[in-house]
Amino acid sequence: MEIRRYRSEPLKCWNRAKELRAKIYRDYATAHKRGGIRYSGSAWSFHAIPYGLGDDVYVLTSEPYGASIAFERKLNEEFQQAAEARGWAHDLCAYMRSYLGSMYLNRYLFGGEFPKPDFCFQIQICCTHSKWYQAIAEYENVPLFIFDVSVGPYNELDENRLMYVVNQMHESIEWLEKVTGRKFDDEKLIEAINTEFEVTSLWAEICTLNKAIPAPLDEKSMYSLYVLATLDKASKEVASFYRELRDEVKDRVERGIAAVATERCRLITDTQPPWGFLKIYRYLESFGAVSVGSLYTFGLQGIFADQEDGSWGPRKRPEQLGIKLRNRDEALRYYADWNLSKPEWQHFYDPKLKTEMMLRIIKEWKVDGVILHLNRGCEGLTTGIMENRLGIIKHGIPVMTYEGNMGDENEFDEKRVIARIDSFMETLGLSKIA
């Protein structure tokens, strides 16, 4: 059988993405030399708020840092053993163990000593988040602010629930002024919030472009692109990069450029992948199967909403709706609402909400099958995943599951996963392309 081959070419902005990622990690480490401030917080933390202290405030987001460590398998083992030697259990969040190990051994993944944060600024939606930062704050002896954002799913958001988060944001600003001794600038806050709106809606727009056949992006490549929003979603540099990326992906769609020339089967995955074994995505491609994304890759940072035609796409920013944020309170209200609509926060309340979004992706992104990673390294995102499986299967979509861990190779059996992929490909009627 002859296989159709699409035109394919590498992303032009690929190197810029790599450079920007390295720069963010470097800027954080060297911030003190420039008189700047360093803080640590989750990729989901409210990054725009500390920008009110000035443009010289840099963040080290702990999950992408943990994922970067996981990619360096030997070092990861060393870091995790260091965390476990201090009493952290093996079955806790893999990112947390990697981050803590790096901190305990005082070694920064990108060279030199571990750059101690001046404060921690964290949100809590899964249980690990707050405990993780409590441990950092106690060990480094730095102040800690934690937002409780568990106010229920977005479709049930009311004024009281919204204000519960907004009031914490107000409180956090007073706290930031106190712990840093700096005066907070509301203009800078509003600018940063608008930047974050742009970054997160741009990422949703880029993901939406992947509805095209052939897909202009494959998920393995998307991991290197979405990461920038996880590193600092309120960064002007990230916004500028995403504008360039969006334009390039749009151009690829118009010209019919494929991420994988032999695309003949479109898949989605779920949860973080086993970072040390991303080659499984290349293995899928040997069958002409391309993962075009996942709710995780799309909705961890991308903010989506219903479009006028009923499809799923980027949520319109206040600016696009002709709304100007005039003061701190207005900005924080919008900011809280925007973040609470994050797709990846919804399943913490009910797996059905996640299943609905996954089914929507399956339909609109024209997906043939689903691969679910039963990720022992992240309880938060894996919660309810077998319910999601049942919900998807009910709609006649083939689903494969495999056990693993995003950041601990002891819980990933490469040979068995490959064997399972072989079986799944056969059930989809696919054989290897010679």
Binding site: M1, E403, D413, R416, S423, A434
Partner: protein, 261 residues
Amino acid sequence: MIFAGIDMGAKMIKVILIKDGNIVAKSKITGGFDEKESAREALRKALDQLSAGFEDLGAVVSTGVGRKLVDIATFSVTDVTADAKGTVFLHPSVRTVIDVGAEEGRAIRCDASGRVIDFAVNEKCAAGAGSFVEAMARAVEMELDEFAAASLKSNKEIPMNAQCAVFAESEVVSLIHSGTSKEDISKAVHDAMASRVTAMVRRVGVERELAFIGGVAKNPGFVQSLKRSLGIENIIIPEDPDFVGAIGAALIGSEGKIREE
């Protein structure tokens, strides 16, 4: 034209030869260190029954954990695909297949043509596979057949909580020291394993008739535990349950599909 299916199991190598849609020969040997040579030997043994040679073969299809090591294979298929194909060929009404071999257990849901709809495989744990029973039989110093039959003589419910074959063995040792009879230990081991396999089967769902294949289907103690655990009395067990994967592989070969595109 003769078509061969070779199932390279974790312990045994099974060969089936098919001619004109009928099974005409079979062989089974214990896999040696040199798996390539073992596969050839098993195939030669089956061909000898027909006084035929390698040159008479239309296609050789390998399956099983060691399928990629068979250098004489025309192509290979996974156990999941071969199991479903072979089972539906033998028992056309079956839609759910349970296969438990030496190192792995799997549950498969398929359609009337033997096409796989959904499947589940036990994760990296031997406690749901045949080697687990063998290890437990050794722990009580019994032959496997004897251990399997002993289970049928017990009515006791002794829960074994360990999720791992290694820890389960410690539990068996504790039972020995507490004076539990070998019959009761055997039933406890089979019940524990059956509950793991049942969880896997429920994941894919039980549809219409259910067949149990693989070497462990020859263990009457386990079959009894599985029936109890699933709440299904009528489980179909083919005459040679350990050959079903090889039958499926040979059938796929006879369909003449080209696997590499």
